[in-house]
Structure formats: C-alpha cells, structure tokens
C-alpha cells in the first residue's frame, strides 16, 4: 500500500497541498482527478520523491520513504511529454534502468524484448524516439518504467499530449495492461471521462485538498461536495436543487412537483438529446434525454412542458 499522511507543500506563496492524506491499496489503479492547480501532480511528484513535502509523510509498502531519494523508492514514473532519452534507441531507453542495476546482458536483452512485446513495440528496438509517434513514445516510456519492476507506477497526465483518438485507445489499452501486470498505479488526469474509464478508484482534488475518494460510480452517484458533483459531470439546477441533466424528467402532463417550462432549443447529439429549457422565472435549465424518449415526446422549440427531478427509485440501476 502507498500512503500519503498529512502532506503539506508550498511553492513560495502558493499552497499546493493542504494536509493531504490518502491511501492507495495494492494492485489498484487510482486516479488523482482535478483541475490544473489542484495539487494532483504535486502529490504524485511527492509520492515519487521528485518533490519533498514541507511536512507529512509518504509510506510505500509500510516503509517511510519521505526522505528517500527517487532513485531508491522503487517507482516507475511516466511523464506527459514522454521524457524520452532522445539520443538512445528504443532498446537502450527501455534497458536504462536495468543497466543502472547492472543486470546481465542476456537478461537485459530478454527483458527488453519481452516488455516491447507487451507494449506493442516489438520490432522497434533499433528505432530512435524521433522516429516514433506520440502514442508509441508514451508506450516506450511505459515499458521503460515497467522494466525495473517498480512497486508503484506513477503516471503524470500520460495521455495529455496525444490526439483524442490515440488517447482513447491508449487508455483502454492501459486498463487491460493493468489487469495483466497488476502493478499498483496512480494516474494523474484533469479529464473526468479518462479517470472514470481507466481507474477503479478516483480521488478528486481541488485547491490542494482531496475532496472525495471512491469508485467512479460512488463519486458520480453520491458526490459529497458540490465541487465533486460538478467536476464529474454536467449539472442542472431546478428550484435550487442540483442534479444531473439526465435525472430531469420531461412530461406533457402537469405533474405534482413539476415546473412549467418552455423549450428553447433541442440539440441532437446522436443517442443523447439535449433540451434547453426556460422556466417561468426566465432561468435556464438543461435536460438530457434519449433519442427514443425525445421522439416519443415530439420535442420542438417553443413547446410548453413540465419538468421534475427523477425520484431515486426511478433511476434505473446499472
């Protein structure tokens, strides 16, 4: 298990981490999720030993490593911009940690080939980083980090510099890799979709604090703070109540606790249909419904409707 205990970190006047404590179970894939400046990268770098906390402790596998250098922590670190060793071939990049550990030549060669196979770069041994695409470079960086069999794999916005399509493929791939390799992984991201897609646990961070830790489902369904609620997905406010837009029920008939609204705009986004509504007080509310339901209701701009929040028992369980 990895734990950060009451970690504090300042950069000059900037309070980057405020009394942060978190436990990361062995074998989990935990995402640190938050907007930029929330302290998520700082926390990752503190765990890695690349930053020293002002106070507090970092514990890896029961050992206090707060003042241990990054060289001796048994970590693998992957950076947003790959941090490839440009003057070395793919093989030498991946072999770097093993050479430092003075492993035998044959063992290194075998291990490097094995890792390149795992990350899908078999046959690229003699290429240089400049001859690889961004996605390939990042997979090389992952192989390099995994080569030393780290206790913890730390990923700092690993897909942040990639195209949307490559990013989506890589995160599915990372999820599967994690299922196979089972190394405890901490992933930093500002993308809630990425966090929910890849991680089994998410720690939402804001302004140097951890707001909530839990499974993606828990955080989405039972957010404990308004920040978590709004950061994990879109929100709509109806009569002061903050809900998810897909928890707004539209109907033609007047319903008990319904609010009378006028449709301002109907936006078709494939399976999802976004309905922008205007209530009597002139407040805007956005509801989300399915293509089928929208067709059933025959929605059009200017139409008068009633809207209410779905009762919890009406939210279909997954």
């Amino acid at each position: 298990m990895i734990a950060a205990e009451n970690v504090e970190k300042h950069y000059g006047d900037f309070h980057a981490l405020r009394d942060v404590s978190i436990e990361i179970p062995d074998g989990s894939l935990t995402a640190l999720l938050g907007p930029s400046g929330s302290g998520k990268s700082t926390l990752l770098r503190v765990i890695a030993g690349l930053e020293v906390p002002d106070s507090g402790a970092v514990v890896i596998s029961g050992e206090d490593v707060t003042h241990t250098s990054p060289q001796k922590r048994g970590i693998g670190f992957v950076f947003q911009h790959y941090a490839a060793f440009k003057h070395m071939t793919v093989r030498d990049n991946v072999a770097f940690g093993l050479k430092i550990r003075k492993r035998g030549k044959d063992e290194i060669a075998r291990r490097v080939d094995e890792l390149l196979e795992i990350v899908g770069l078999a046959g690229y041994q003699t290429r240089y980083p400049s001859q690889l695409s961004g996605g390939q470079r990042q997979r090389m960086a992952l192989a390099r980090a995994l080569a030393v069999e780290p206790q913890v794999l730390l990923l700092d916005e690993p897909f942040g510099a990639l195209d949307a399509k490559v990013r989506e493929d890589l995160r599915t791939w990372l999820r599967r890799l994690h299922d196979d390799v089972h190394v405890t992984t901490v992933l930093v991201t500002h993308d809630q979709e990425e966090a929910m897609d890849v991680a089994d646990r998410i720690a939402v961070m804001s302004e140097g604090r951890i707001e909530q830790v839990g499974s993606p489902r828990e955080l989405y369904d039972t957010p404990q703070t308004e920040f978590v609620m709004s950061f994990l997905g879109p929100t709509a406010t109806l009569r002061g109540e903050v809900v998810r837009p897909h928890d707004l029920v539209l109907s033609h008939e007047k319903i008990d606790d319904g609010v009378a609204v006028i449709i301002e705009r109907v936006v078709h986004l494939g399976f999802e249909v976004r309905v922008e509504l205007l209530d009597e007080a002139g407040e805007r509310v956005t509801a989300q419904t399915t293509r089928g339901r929208a067709a059933e209701l025959g929605l059009y701009p200017g139409q008068a409707l009633f809207v209410r929040t779905a009762r919890p028992d009406q939210i279909p369980a997954l």
Binding site: Q71, V148, W173
Partner: protein
Amino acid sequence: MPRPATEVAGGDGPDGRTPADPSTPRPRARSRRRARADAGGVGPLGLGVATLWLSIIVLLPLAAVVAKSLDGGLPAFWEAITSPPATRALQLTLIVSIVVTVINAVMGTLIAWVLVRDEFRGKALVNALIDLPFALPTVVASIVLLTLIGQNSPVGLDLFATHWAIGIALLFVTLPFVVRSVQPVLLEVEKEAEEAAASLGAGNLTIFRLIILPALLPALVSGAGLAFARAVGEYGSVVLISGNTPRNQVASQYIFDRIETDRPAAAAAMSVTLLLITFAVLLLLRLFTWWRTRNEG
C-alpha cells in the same frame, strides 16, 4: 497480453509524421531537405548574393594567401614550414591550444552549468562578465596579464616569456566560446528526462554522463572547436606576455616576424598551414557531431 489497436500503432505523432512499419525504411532525410527548400528558401537571387559575398570576403583573401605561399613552388613551401623555427612555433601553438581547449571545455561547461542551474546574487553581473574577453581588445588583455604575471608581478608570480603565460592568455580569450555555446543548450535540456533517469535509479553523475552530456555534446564540441581555432590564430593577447623569444614564439608571432624580416612567402606558408589545420579540425568536429546526432529529432 493486451495488444494496442492498430490505430494506435500507426497513429500520428504530435508533429504529424506518420511512422511507417518498422520493416520499411523511410526516405526521411530527403523529404525533409525538400520541405525546407520549399518552405523557407531564399531563391536564386539570395543564393547568388550569399555566394558572391562569401567569395569576396572569405575565399578571395584565402586564395591570395595560398597563391603567395606557393610563390617558390611546393619545395619552397615545404622547406619554409619544416624549418626548425617554424616547426617549433607550430608545435608550441598546437600543444598549448589543445590543452587550453580541453581546460576551457571543462571549465566552460561548469560555468555554463552554474549560470543556468544555480541561483545566486550577482548572477547577471557574472553573466555579463563572461563576454568581457570577447569585448576587450586582445592587446589590453596582454597588458593586463603583463602587469599581473609579468616581471614586476605584484603577486610575485613572474611567468613572463614562459609557455604558462601563453596558456593563461589563451585561456582568457577563449573562455566565452564554450560557455556561450553550452549555455543555451543547457537551458533547453529537458528536466523531465533527468527526472525519468533518477526514477530509474540513476545517480547525479550517471545522469550527467548518460543524459545531459550527450545532449550538450554538439554545442560543447562546436564551442571547443571555435575556442581551438581562436587559440591557434591568437596574436594580440600573447604578443606582450610571451616575450617573443625564439623558443617562446607562437605561430602568429612567427608569421609577423617573417613579414617584418621581409620573408612573405614563409609567412604565407605558415598561414596556409594554420588555415588547413583549423579547417580540418572544424570539419572533423562537425562530422563527429553530425554522426552523434544523426538520429535525434
């Protein structure tokens, strides 16, 4: 084992280049060269002006000195540069220049390192000071050295007319070359690559040797090459402190001496020899740098 989707394997990098299958070589160098000509070339007029200018300012005088050196034919040329005073001057010049270049390569890198990576008060001042040997008339450097380490040295260090004095003068005038070449590259060295190496277990010295030094090498080599070329041809800063005795005469002083004593062919022969050595060294260093960095993008 999870295999990435094919879209990932062939995905575009941020630079938009699509890497080909590993089995097929890519015509990378050629397409790049063409792209450069298309995008930013100056056209035939610009090329013509550049060639003409280079010819008038550089090639013409060089041709003149080569012609002069061959006034008496090749045998006379050979005799001129193999005469004992000539070989002695040449030997002294080359040995001192090599030593000075190596020392300044190390010290220059260290100073650049301190200027880039360390924060201290008066850093801007030190940074400005580095250029002083560039800005100062070299004969002023010679006078300064004469006052400091000459016969009336206030610190009791009389190195007048010794090899040491020549070495110190050359160290002074060639220092900025390495510092100023290495400094900007050091600023660009990716901090993350160093951190990645550290996370993989590399200590500071290993990181410097395996990660930073290879990145600095082209700049370091080019700075050292310039320092060497300057040292080989240096006259002004050496002229007063060396004493100009026959056993302590550098090549440039030898040339001046031959001119003074009305032997212009011998002067030209030595000039051409210096020219060839410097050119060969710069060319070799360039080839070395190209060879080392041919695979970096």
